[in-house]
Symmetry: C2
């Protein structure tokens, strides 16, 4: 697990998620990516830079254009953190839920007091 800060920060912006969704359909040039968005080119360029630095995409020059491509490796890292804790979460939730059903007083805490 690495680079999670940058990856999740990158995913926090709806424009960037839309760009990733777009790239999921296939590589695209910067111009093609920018086209549907109401913001300036430089703004798109910086979103792409953020995505690149988070290792969620790669950019490679092809003559005058830059082609952007998803980087599944980077996306996997972001997923792994959530995946790792998913079992814990549901597990903890179920355990607590169960416990609550048996002890209807508020907020039982499974940790023992020191």
């Amino acid at each position: 697990m690495k680079n999670l800060d940058a990856a999740y920060a990158a995913l926090a912006d709806p424009t960037r998620r839309a760009i990733l969704a777009r790239l999921a359909l296939g590589d695209a040039t910067v111009g093609e990516i920018a086209e549907p968005f109401p913001i300036s080119g430089p703004a798109i360029s910086r979103h792409l830079k953020v995505l690149e630095e988070a290792q969620l995409i790669t950019r490679t020059r092809r003559s005058q254009q830059f082609v952007c491509r998803l980087n599944p490796e980077g996306l996997k890292s972001a997923q792994e953190w959530l995946d790792y804790y998913r079992a814990f979460w549901t597990g903890a939730f179920d355990r607590l839920d169960e416990h609550l059903k048996r002890n209807p007083q508020l907020s039982p805490n499974p940790k023992e007091k020191k």
Copy 2:
């Protein structure tokens, strides 16, 4: 899918991920959560507020203390976006990789030109 901005923004901070990891082991009071961190109480309190607003945790008062608990629903939302695109990403990657192997020129673009 909803609230993804707030959820991913919340996940982008390592302190907040550590708090979630801690809560995966069971509910905890604010004091218990704060204990291992070298930052001030108010800083923790605000991290908790961010997590709560992102619907990743809930806070409920129990006498003087506040007990924090994971909210698996919120976490699921964050995961679903990534899950939804996982197939696309790996699929697109494989397709492109395949394509590149057959056409060794750089960066083929599967979209047709308008």
